[in-house]
C-alpha cells in the first residue's frame, strides 16, 4: 500500500515541469518585465508612476491576503501601511542622524533595507490590533477595522512627535551605506529599489499562500466550522494571517517611505484604505495576480486620468460598481475568461461573442462619457463645452442628446441580445 501511495503521491502533486510552468515561469516573466522596463528609457513621470505602482502592487496584494485569501473585509488596511511607513521613515531619520553623528547601529544600516523595518512595524501593529479584531470574520471584522482606522487616523493628527502633525515626517534617503552601487538619489536608481522590493513582496506573498498557514487561511475563509473540526482555531488562523498582511502592508509602507522620503498622517486615513480595497477588488480578489492589475490601473488613473477629466472619481466609482455587479472576478477574471475562451473548443464563437459584447460596452461608454463630460462642463459653468473629436456638445444641443441616447439604447440592446444568446447556448 505504501508503495502504491508513494508512486501516486508523485503523480498527484504537479510534476516538476508543471510546477515550473505554472509557478516559476510567471515569476520569472514578472522579474524580467521589471528588469527590462528601464531599457525603454522611461521619463521621470513614467518612473514615478512605476514607483508608485510598485508600492501599490505590494500594498494591494497584502490587502488581498485578507479579502481574497482569508475572506476578511477590512476598511482600515492603510493603518498598517502607514505605521510600517512611519517606522521606516523614523529609521531613515535615525540613519541620517547616525551617519552625521556618533555612528552606532543605524549608521551601518542601508536605506535599501528599510522595507524590513516597515515590515516589522506593520506586523507589530497587526499583532497588537489584530488580537481583538480577528475574533470573528464578516461584518464585525469590517466594522472593527473601520473603528480602528478612525481612531488611529485621529491619533495621527494628535501625536505630533510620532506622526509629525499635518506635515508629517520627512527624511533623506541618500544616507548610510550604499547597496548594489545605488545612491538612491536619482529616480531611476529608486526604480531598482522599488523593483527589487516589489518582486520580493510579490514573491513573499506568493510563498505565503503555499505554506500550511496560507492554505488554512483559504480553508478558514471557505468553511471556518470545518477548519475547526480538523484541528485549527479559526481565530488564530485569521490573527496570524492578519499579522502577515499587516507586515506586507508595512513593507509597502517602507517602500513608499524611501520613494517619497516623507510620510504624512493622511496615509493612515480611510481614503487610502478605501483605495486599496478598490485596487484589489477591481483587479480581482480571487486571482493571485488580480491585485497587481488593479494596482497598476488605479495608480495610472489616479495620477494621469485627472489630467483629462475632473470627473475621474465618478468613472472610478462607476468602474467599481460595474465590476461588483457584473464581473465579480475583476479584471483578472475577465482576462482569465478571455484566455479560457481562446483555448476552449470554439475560439471563433467566443471571439464573435466578445466582439458583440465589446461593441455593446463601447457604445454604452460613449453615451456615459458624453453624458458625464457634458454635465461636468455644464455644472462648472465656465462656459466650456465638451468637444470630443471636433464635435461641439453643449448641454442643450440636440446632437449631444443624440450622442447620449442612441448609443445607449443600441448598447443595451446588443448586450441584452448577447446575454440571451449565451443563456440559449447554456
Amino acid at each position: 500500500m505504501s508503495n502504491i501511495a508513494t508512486d501516486t503521491m508523485i503523480s498527484l502533486s504537479p510534476s516538476g515541469s508543471q510546477k515550473f510552468m505554472q509557478r516559476t515561469v510567471p515569476l520569472i516573466i514578472f522579474a524580467v518585465i521589471l528588469a527590462v522596463i528601464p531599457v525603454f528609457g522611461p521619463s521621470r513621470t513614467m518612473y514615478s508612476l512605476l514607483n508608485a505602482m510598485g508600492v501599490n502592487i505590494v500594498f494591494a496584494m497584502s490587502y488581498n491576503m485578507l479579502l481574497g485569501r482569508a475572506g476578511l473585509l477590512s476598511f482600515g488596511h492603510a493603518v498598517y501601511f502607514g505605521l510600517g511607513g512611519y517606522a521606516a521613515v523614523h529609521a531613515m531619520g535615525a540613519i541620517e542622524a547616525a551617519s552625521y553623528g556618533d555612528g552606532g547601529f543605524w549608521a551601518g544600516y542601508p536605506v535599501f533595507f528599510l522595507p524590513f523595518i516597515g515590515f516589522a512595524g506593520g506586523a507589530l501593529a497587526g499583532a497588537v490590533i489584530g488580537w481583538p479584531s480577528c475574533r470573528r470574520a464578516g461584518t464585525p471584522f469590517a466594522m472593527i477595522s473601520l473603528g480602528v482606522a478612525e481612531l488611529i487616523s485621529a491619533a495621527g493628527f494628535m501625536f505630533g512627535s510620532i506622526f509629525g502633525g499635518e506635515e508629517g515626517i520627512s527624511g533623506d534617503r541618500m544616507n548610510g551605506p550604499e547597496m548594489f552601487g545605488l545612491s538612491l538619489g536619482p529616480i531611476n536608481e529608486v526604480y531598482w529599489f522599488i523593483a527589487f522590493w516589489t518582486f520580493i513582496g510579490v514573491l513573499g506573498i506568493y510563498a505565503f499562500t503555499r505554506t500550511p498557514l496560507g492554505k488554512m487561511s483559504e480553508a478558514t475563509r471557505d468553511n471556518p466550522e470545518r477548519a475547526e473540526f480538523v484541528g485549527y482555531d479559526p481565530q488564530k488562523v485569521r490573527y496570524l494571517v492578519f499579522i502577515f498582511a499587516g507586515g506586507f502592508a508595512g513593507l509597502a509602507g517602507g517602500m513608499s517611505a524611501v520613494n517619497y522620503e516623507i510620510f504624512t498622517p493622511e496615509a493612515l486615513s480611510l481614503a487610502p484604505s478605501g483605495m486599496v480595497l478598490l485596487m484589489a477588488y477591481i483587479g480581482g480578489i480571487r486571482y493571485f495576480a488580480g491585485p497587481i492589475l488593479g494596482a497598476i490601473l488605479l495608480t495610472y488613473m489616479q495620477s494621469m486620468m485627472s489630467d483629462y477629466s475632473e470627473a475621474w472619481l465618478l468613472y472610478l466609482g462607476l468602474l467599481f460598481i460595474v465590476i461588483v455587479m457584473f464581473a465579480p472576478g475583476g479584471l483578472a477574471g475577465i482576462f482569465g475568461g478571455l484566455f479560457r475562451g481562446l483555448r476552449g473548443d470554439n475560439p471563433a464563437a467566443s471571439l464573435r461573442q466578445w466582439a458583440v459584447q465589446i461593441t455593446g460596452i463601447v457604445l454604452m461608454m460613449i453615451s456615459l462619457v458624453t453624458l458625464i463630460e457634458m454635465s461636468v462642463n455644464w455644472s462648472n459653468n465656465y462656459g466650456e463645452v465638451f468637444e470630443p473629436f471636433g464635435m461641439h456638445l453643449p448641454h442643450d444641443g440636440v446632437l449631444t442628446w443624440a450622442v447620449i441616447f442612441i448609443p445607449f439604447v443600441a448598447g443595451v440592446g446588443i448586450l441584452r441580445k448577447a446575454l440571451k444568446n449565451k443563456e440559449g447556448q447554456a
Binding site: S48, E166, P186, Y308, E310, N380
Partner: protein, 412 residues
C-alpha cells in the same frame, strides 16, 4: 478642453521623455487639488494663475517669453503631489505654484530642495501662494521657496493689531482644529494678545478634532457662557462654516475673527445673520478702493469665470514680481530669478510689497475685512461680500515677524 481621446496618446507620450523647456515659454506648474472635495478651491487658484498669465502674455509676456500655466491635480495628497511634480519636471517646468495645504507645501519644499541639489542646472523654484506654516520662512527656510501670502503668525500679528484698537473687546475665546496649524494659531494668538492687550482675558483656548465635528452648538454654548465678546479661529472648510453657523444660531453676538472666512462657498453657508459679525484677515477684497486698471483686471476675471470670485490678489502679485525679477535678471532661469526676487519691492494695487531677502517672505498690507450685505462686488453669486475701511488696514511693516531663518544660497 481636456479630451479623453487624447488620453491614450498622452499615455504613449509620457513613456518617452519630453525634456527641456522650449525657448519661448515660461512654464508654471500649478500643483493643487482639481478634483475631490477641495477641487473647487484649487480650480479657483488655477483660474487666477491662468488669468494672470493671460494678462501678462497680452502685454508681451515675461522677458518676451509667453507664460503657460498648467494644472496638475494633486488631490491635496503629499505623495500624489510628488508624482505630479515629476510629471511637471518632465514637461520642462521650472516654476511650481502651490498653496492648498501645508502638508503638500512641506513635501514639495523637501522634494524640490533635493531635486535641485541632485540635479544642478535643472533647478526649480517654488512659488507658494497660500501655504501658511511659519516654519517655511523660519527654521525650515529655503532658497528655492518664496511665499506670497502672509504666514499664519503674520496674520495673527495683523489680527491682534486690529484688536488692539478695539476697546470693547475684553474677553477672547480661541478655538481651532486639533493639528499643527490650529495649534500654531492658538499659540500665536495667546502670545500676541498678552503682548498687545494685556488687559484682555483669554477665556478659553480649545482645540477640536479636524473635520469630525458635526454640531458645534456645544462648543458655542461653552463660548457664550464664558462671556467672550470675540472669538478667534483658524478653522477652514466645513469646520469653519459649521462653527460660524452654530455661533450665530445660538445668538453669539461678538466678532468672529477668522483666517478663512472669505474662502469659497462660506458666504452662502453663513448667510445674512453673519453680516457685520464675521471678519477675515486677507490681503485684498474686491470692495477696496481700486485703481481703474486694477478694477478692470478684477472685473475681467469675474466676467470670465462667472462661477468663481476674485480672491487671490497674491497670485497677481506673484506674477508681477516674477516678471519684474526676470526682467531685472534678464533671464528666466530660476536661479537668476530667485536672486533677483530677494529684496525686491513692488508697487501693487494695495500698496508696496517687499520680498524679504532674509527669509523669502513677502510683506504686504493686510485688511481685516468684514462680512457685509452692502457691497459693490458680491461673492458666490449672492448679495454678500467683504468690506474693509481704513481702520481695518494693517500696514505691511506691521506684519513683520522676527525670523530664525539662516538662508543658505547657492553660488551664483
Amino acid at each position: 478642453m481636456r479630451l479623453l481621446s487624447s488620453a491614450a496618446l498622452a499615455a504613449v507620450m509620457s513613456v518617452t521623455a519630453l525634456s527641456g523647456a522650449s525657448a519661448d515659454t515660461l512654464k508654471i506648474a500649478f500643483i493643487d487639488p482639481l478634483s475631490g472635495p477641495f477641487g473647487p478651491t484649487g480650480q479657483d487658484g488655477l483660474n487666477e494663475w491662468e488669468y494672470a498669465a493671460e494678462q501678462i502674455n497680452a502685454k508681451g509676456g515675461i522677458n518676451g517669453n509667453q507664460v503657460e500655466v498648467t494644472g496638475y491635480d494633486n488631490k491635496v495628497n503629499p505623495k500624489e503631489s510628488l508624482v505630479q511634480l515629476q510629471k511637471a519636471l518632465d514637461n520642462g517646468v521650472r516654476y511650481i505654484a502651490q498653496g492648498n495645504g501645508s502638508s503638500v507645501a512641506s513635501a514639495l519644499i523637501d522634494a524640490i530642495t533635493k531635486h535641485n541639489k541632485r540635479n544642478p542646472g535643472e533647478e526649480v523654484l517654488f512659488l507658494n501662494y497660500a501655504a501658511v506654516d511659519p516654519s517655511f520662512t523660519n527654521d525650515r527656510c529655503n532658497f528655492w521657496h518664496f511665499r506670497f501670502d502672509a504666514d499664519s503668525d503674520m496674520k495673527m500679528e495683523a489680527i491682534t493689531d486690529w484688536v488692539k484698537g478695539q476697546e470693547d473687546i475684553k474677553k477672547v475665546y480661541i478655538i481651532g482644529q486639533d493639528y499643527s496649524f490650529g495649534k500654531a494659531v492658538a499659540a500665536a494668538a495667546e502670545k500676541n494678545l498678552t503682548e498687545k492687550r494685556p488687559d484682555i482675558e483669554i477665556v478659553g483656548n480649545e482645540l477640536h478634532p479636524l473635520g469630525k465635528v458635526k454640531d458645534f452648538t456645544p462648543y458655542v454654548q461653552k463660548i457664550i457662557s464664558s462671556g467672550a465678546d470675540a472669538m478667534i479661529t483658524g478653522n477652514w472648510g466645513a469646520d469653519m462654516v459649521l462653527l460660524i453657523k452654530a455661533a450665530i444660531d445660538s445668538g453669539f453676538d461678538g466678532k468672529i475673527l477668522t483666517y478663512y472666512g472669505g474662502s469659497r462657498g462660506a458666504a452662502t453657508a453663513m448667510g445674512q445673520a453673519a453680516v457685520g459679525q464675521v471678519m477675515a484677515i486677507v490681503e485684498h477684497n474686491t470692495n477696496l478702493e481700486m485703481s481703474d486698471a486694477h478694477a478692470a483686471y478684477v472685473d475681467g476675471y469675474e466676467a470670465k469665470y462667472s462661477e468663481s470670485n476674485y480672491y487671490y490678489q497674491r497670485i497677481d502679485n506673484a506674477m508681477h514680481m516674477l516678471a519684474m525679477a526676470a526682467e531685472k535678471a534678464d533671464s528666466i532661469d530660476p536661479v537668476d530669478v530667485a536672486f533677483a526676487l530677494e529684496g525686491m519691492t513692488y508697487e501693487g494695487p494695495t500698496g508696496t510689497l517687499t520680498m524679504r531677502a532674509d527669509n523669502h517672505q513677502v510683506l504686504q498690507p493686510m485688511f481685516m475685512s468684514t462680512f457685509s450685505d452692502n457691497v459693490a462686488r458680491g461673492v458666490d453669486n449672492g448679495p454678500f461680500g467683504w468690506v474693509a475701511d481704513d481702520a481695518a488696514r494693517i500696514e505691511a511693516e506691521d506684519t513683520r515677524t522676527e525670523t530664525t531663518c539662516q538662508m543658505t544660497r547657492p553660488s551664483k
